[in-house]
């Protein structure tokens, strides 16, 4: 496969990776405004992908006892409880306000199912030294478990902190966007299990249009804090294959507010290393030239 790999900018990832006749780019649109925190996505993902359990923990983080995305968690439902002046969203959607609290603070509960972003410019894939991570014909990013040797480089490279090393196994694991299902025309397990269609799967173009309409509608009906995250091909990772509709700042959900793929600066890094290497060679020459001792 000819490699003419772009490090930054707006591209079609599968075509950029060398596929002659790529499939439409597939992805997730996770609309957190309709997430009910049921965690069916977490369970379905574990079941379908045979992901090992990672203990029964009580983390004291609202209803979140999963904690974060890692090698054994490829969908993670975040729960955020906020005390703030009551938001009047969709008429009739707000719970009844107790008399004692009328006009005062109210609790808002944010729930969001996080997942690998399947970046257009995926740092994990760029830095993988074995070729274990690869770009699929659907534009997604998948680890080949028979190739990965557990070097761990993808883990600090990911700007979202998604991919991780599995304890006792040594290899790196993450969401595959159910590569084994979507090739057969099935939806990924999490999207199939989601009872509210908070997790929507489909061609990325279509999802982006749908998301733009949804955020427009939420704004019109008063939920002005709704915003999209990861949908913009002009952002620091060239847009995410899995993007979100959020109801607060990204960092509140544990997401980086403005991620940039580290390899954007790789040519500059190699140049600096080259200058340092030449400086080193010059210092060596100077140490030997014209002196007898």
């Amino acid at each position: 496969m000819a490699v003419s790999h772009s490090l930054y900018g707006q591209i079609e990832p599968a075509a950029d990776a060398g596929y002659q006749d790529p499939q439409p780019r597939m992805g997730f649109f996770t609309d957190t405004s309709v997430c009910i925190g049921c965690k069916a996505c977490e369970v379905a993902c574990k079941e379908w992908n045979g992901v090992p359990d990672d203990g029964l923990n009580l983390l004291g983080m609202s209803f979140d006892n999963t904690g974060q995305l890692d090698a054994n968690t490829w969908r993670h439902v975040a729960f955020i409880e906020q005390s703030r002046p009551q938001l009047l969203g969709l008429p009739g959607s707000a719970p009844p306000v107790p008399a004692s609290q009328e006009g005062g603070a109210d609790v808002r509960w944010l729930m969001s199912s996080d997942v690998c972003k399947h970046c257009t410019h995926a740092a994990c894939l760029d830095v993988c030294p074995t070729g274990a991570l690869f770009r699929t014909e659907f534009g997604t990013v998948v680890v080949q478990e028979d190739i990965c040797n557990g070097c761990g480089y993808c883990i600090p490279a990911c700007p979202y902190g998604v991919i991780d090393q599995r304890p006792g196994d040594g290899r790196a694991w993450k969401c595959t966007l159910c590569y084994d299902r979507i090739g057969d025309g099935l939806m990924p397990a999490c999207a199939t299990a989601c009872p509210t269609e908070s997790i929507q799967y489909g061609p990325l173009d279509e999802l982006r249009e749908r998301a733009a309409r949804r955020v427009e509608r939420l704004h019109e009906t008063g939920t002005v804090e709704a915003r999209l995250y990861g949908h913009d091909p002009a952002d620091g990772v060239g847009g995410d294959g899995a993007f979100f509709l959020l109801l607060d700042e990204p960092e509140v959900y544990g997401l980086p507010p403005d991620p940039v793929v580290t390899t954007r600066d790789l040519p500059a890094m190699w140049r600096r290393a080259g200058v340092a290497a030449l400086t080193m060679a010059a210092a060596v020459a100077a140490a030997f030239v014209g002196r007898a001792s």
Binding site: D64, A123, I147, G152, D164, W270, G274, A286
Partner: protein, 344 residues
Amino acid sequence: MVPSAEFRSYYGRPVLKAPVWGQAVPAYLFTGGLAAGSALLAAGADLTGRAGLRRAARLTAVGAVGASGFFLISDLGRPERFHHMLRVAKPTSPMSMGTWILTAFGASAGVAAAGELGPWLPGRGPFGLARRSLPGVGRAAGLAAAGFAPALATYTAVLLADTASPSWHEAYPELPFVFAGGALASAAGAALVAAPVGEAGPARRFAVTGAALELAAAHRVETGHGLLSEPYRTGRAGRLLRAAWALTAAGVAGALLGRRNRALSAASGGLLMVASALTRFGIFEGGVASAKDPKYTVLPQRERLDARSEAGLPNHQGNPVTPARQQLADDRVAGHLAGHQQAS
């Protein structure tokens, strides 16, 4: 400018994953640099007729590159699959480039070190032929190793910087100079320990220029990047880097004062090696610390995003709330409240 320390996060949890690399990786940063610097010292000694310095530096190089291979393989999650590194050559992966640089360097340094075996071989028969050809083969291999050495000493800086760990990435302009200088200083240290004092002149000059380069570049890493320099001045990384600074200064002073004193030369050589190792561990720890605390991820990104919004540029968050849309929403809320009051 250092942004205000106020930021929001998900239960204070890190946004990024810290590297899972163990202490073998900073140990390799040291041994790889030591091997590279020693190969350069050996090649220079060979070309200028310093046989004792050449022998000591070649043996240091091959020992250090062997240790490097051990550290790197032992740190893999699946060490038995180390050869999967050799499936591909990927310029976008500094680790892949480093694998090939280290392989080429290791083979050359190994042959160069074998060149030192000549005097122990018998003078006649096939061994005699080997004995006579070894100096030439050793020189060619030693020069090849020296050719790969600057790449070996500096690619590791790109390896660390090409991650999302904020303080490593931000320090990418200076890190290769820290590692290049440290490679020269640590090789000088090994030579001051192992080579004859009379031939160690180039090693002393290595010590001075290497230490100067290392300390100057490290100072920029520790102070030149605002909030993202902080992890290099605090905690374990700060302690390691401060100790490294003091030991480097002492080592250079000893190297210069001990020109004719074997014991003082060797002691200062030891200090230079320890100092260079401490610098590598300090740089390593600083980057790890920056990934573990969400403030180093969120604050710089939030500042960048807010600056873009203020400048009227897109902030990548789609359908921003325009004044007109806010007004529409306010009207709807007011209407809803009015209806609520009528009903009650």
